[in-house]
């Protein structure tokens, strides 16, 4: 198997200087101020990228408008600003000598171009800014935004009502990767019934969003066409975008490092930190590729994974097993794949015994040899579940195998309905159910994480919470994420400090929930379109660093707070 290696010398030069301990301990490389007509700007992101490098390191300005970028190796850098509402500045040729301080002051001007402002907005901000009623906003979020392409697609478009009608009618019968829906009947949907619709999961009833009283109207495509035409008709001129305030005070003390995957069009789905340390592994949502980022040097390597030629490429899940193999759900191909990260090659691939199956969930146990496993998979199209014996290649159908996390004792966790998180003990006969404080809370498929204290963390999509199951007390606590339309896909916990973290799907903000104090804070991020599926936590860093991905830009991201 060929290995795609991106050897980027300058990546190593820059990335070797990435912070691994307390940020403030490193010498200042670039110092400057960001000012606008109104004076110094606080909470303005400034990034530096060495020439030829794929790594960009961002920091924020303090209350004097001053930024410090620390620990950069010698080289020539490009300075970038990312400040919503202000035109991006890109200043090339900033010379840095290791251990010396370079001055770079930047004046920024207001951005007035609507399309550029749309680029600077998170999906949450776009939805909040749409010139429609609240119920129309709900409809547009459910049908056109929340699970697929975001609001920017229709905000940046201009079509007549006739053309919007054409587009909406076609969107209803394609998959999120642009493939036609499979020619099979789904549960509760026989011949002649209307096709599944985007944003509705796989349950037709879920299309009744909003209030029960008003929801019915939103099943009608014609309403949707009216809303789209109102926002993005041929003569639409755009609308004011309500940006969230920039960070202030301690919230500006964060360093964000973005590692660009060199492959054009990279679209990361799952990110998994290697339990042995050193590498962040990822798979791609649209391409049959697995890759790794060297967490010290930033070097990216990619490995092709064979898939079905007659299906789109891409993955939907990843889990570690006890031997350190990465198990992958190759979604559209309907395969379960075992990938040996030490050798960098596929060591097994099994086709789920159901044509058109989509392997949405693959579960392996990272800490134990499970007596009832070792591998389970659930189909994301029809909902069937199987146990896989990799030695024989035999799939055995399992009823209600709705777990997706295995703890250190071999207990399996998963949501079995809205508001009900179930623990299934080894033997698969004894289980305990925990109710969420929010009645309709529900984590997404395969989206639970275990912390080092043995507690379970999840993201509540619809009700926007970080959820924590204290497995010792048998109690769930949920922490509300402040930003509207956040949509938390997942969360991860710092077991040493009892802190939960997530980057909601559409807010482009880091959320930190302190389970001891109950305090929830949000820290803006420099880019847009993160749409994370999974997060990793680097517990050996001080303070622990959070790893995730940016889907729109094809980057792997490291976030770390610091204090001065």
């Amino acid at each position: 198997m060929s290995i795609r290696i991106y050897s980027l010398l300058l990546v190593a030069l820059l990335a070797s200087a990435m912070p691994r301990a307390v940020e403030a301990a490193e010498p200042v490389s670039i110092r400057g101020t960001i000012t606008a007509a109104e004076g110094p700007l606080e909470g303005a992101y400034v990034g530096a990228r060495a020439n030829g490098s794929t790594v960009t390191k961002y920091g924020m300005t303090d209350n004097r408008g001053e930024f410090l970028l620390r620990g950069l190796e010698s080289g020539t850098y490009t300075l970038l600003t990312r400040i919503p509402g202000f035109r991006n500045v890109k200043r090339e040729g900033i010379r840095v000598e290791s251990g010396e301080e370079t001055r770079a002051d930047v004046r920024v001007e207001p951005e007035t171009d609507f399309l550029r402002l749309v680029e600077q907005a998170s999906n949450s901000e776009l939805l909040e800014s749409l010139p429609v009623t609240d119920m129309e906003r709900v409809a547009l979020d459910s049908r056109c935004s929340s699970r697929c392409h975001g609001a920017s697609y229709f905000v940046e478009s201009r079509f007549s009502a006739r053309d919007w009608r054409l587009i909406v009618s076609k969107m209803e019968s394609i998959t999120p990767v642009g493939d036609l829906d499979p020619p099979i009947a789904r549960p509760g949907r026989g011949a002649g019934q209307e096709p599944p619709r985007r944003g509705s999961s796989f349950d037709t009833d879920a299309e009744i969003y909003g209030s029960t009283a008003e929801g019915g109207s939103f099943r009608d495509d014609e309403h949707l066409v009216q809303y789209l035409s109102k926002i993005s008709g041929p003569d639409s001129k755009g609308f004011p975008i309500k940006f969230q305030p920039r960070a202030t005070g301690q919230l500006t003390r964060a360093v964000v490092t973005e590692y660009q995957i060199p492959r054009p069009g990279a679209y990361v789905h799952d990110l998994m930190l290697d339990p042995r340390g050193g590498y962040a592994w990822y798979n791609d949502w649209r391409v049959n590729v697995v890759g790794s980022v060297n967490m010290q040097t930033g070097e990216v390597k990619e490995y092709p994974v064979p898939g079905r030629d007659d299906r789109p490429g891409g993955f939907h899940s990843a889990r570690w097993d006890k031997e350190g193999n990465l198990w992958l759900g190759q979604l559209w191909s309907g395969r379960v794949v075992r990938f040996d990260v030490k050798q960098g090659k596929v060591t097994g691939s099994w086709q789920v015994p159901l044509e058109w199956s989509r392997t949405g969930t693959v579960v392996a146990c990272q800490y134990v040899n499970h007596p009832d496993g070792p591998i389970w998979t659930r189909d994301a199209l029809l909902g069937s579940g199987w146990k896989l014996n990799p030695d024989t290649g035999v799939f055995t159908q399992v009823q209600n195998a709705r777990w997706n996390l295995c703890d250190r004792e071999g207990n399996l966790y998963g949501f079995v309905g809205r508001g009900v998180l179930r623990k299934t003990e080894p033997g698969l006969e004894k289980f305990t159910e925990y109710r969420t404080p929010t009645p309709n809370a529900q984590a997404n498929e395969n989206r639970l994480n275990l912390d080092t204290a043995g507690n379970v963390w999840y993201g509540d999509w619809d009700s926007r919470h970080i959820g924590l199951l204290d497995t010792h007390a048998g109690k769930i606590t949920e922490f509300l994420i402040p930003t509207p339309w956040s949509l938390a896909y997942n969360a991860i916990g710092d077991g040493a400090n009892n802190i939960g973290w997530t980057v909601p799907h559409h807010s482009d903000r880091m959320v930190k929930a302190d389970a001891d104090s109950g305090q929830v804070i949000e820290i803006p991020l420099p880019s847009r379109g993160y749409q994370i599926r999974n997060l990793g936590i680097e517990m050996t860093a001080n303070p622990p660093a959070i790893w995730f991905m940016n889907q729109r830009d094809g980057t792997i991201v490291r976030f770390q707070e610091y204090t001065e």
């Binding site: 171009d113 587009i167 041929p234 054009p264």
Partner: protein
Amino acid sequence: MARRRVDSRNRARQALLVRVVMFSCSAFLLTTASPALQAPHSDEASPEREAWYLVRHRCFLCHEIDRPETKFAPSLMGLFERGDARMINGKPINEQTVTEVILAGGPNMPAFQYTLTARQIGLILRYLKGGFPNAPKQDGRHMQEGPR
């Protein structure tokens, strides 16, 4: 929202439309400022990446790009390599006639005249003609063809 950049786009689009109308006798109504899709971080995106992004978001929904099958509409694979073949509207296949269709749409295709600029349509055409040999295919298959 009158802006210099959008005005510039409009002028470019108007010039393109005038050429199209002259050649095809098709009538398009020009409107006032209309934004167009931007690739992510467009201040940094390469033309190759922007072209791939545009084709992905504006064409691939209905047309296969790298496969011969018909999705909602005929495949665009090898569109400009079909000899004497004609489009559904009976016109020969060339940049001019394809641009006309992109702008005006058809019975089963939306009109992109208010959404795409002349420059963006140029990027799409160049992509479809194989002018970005290192750009991703729409289904990503070339990613398995070895190191790049």
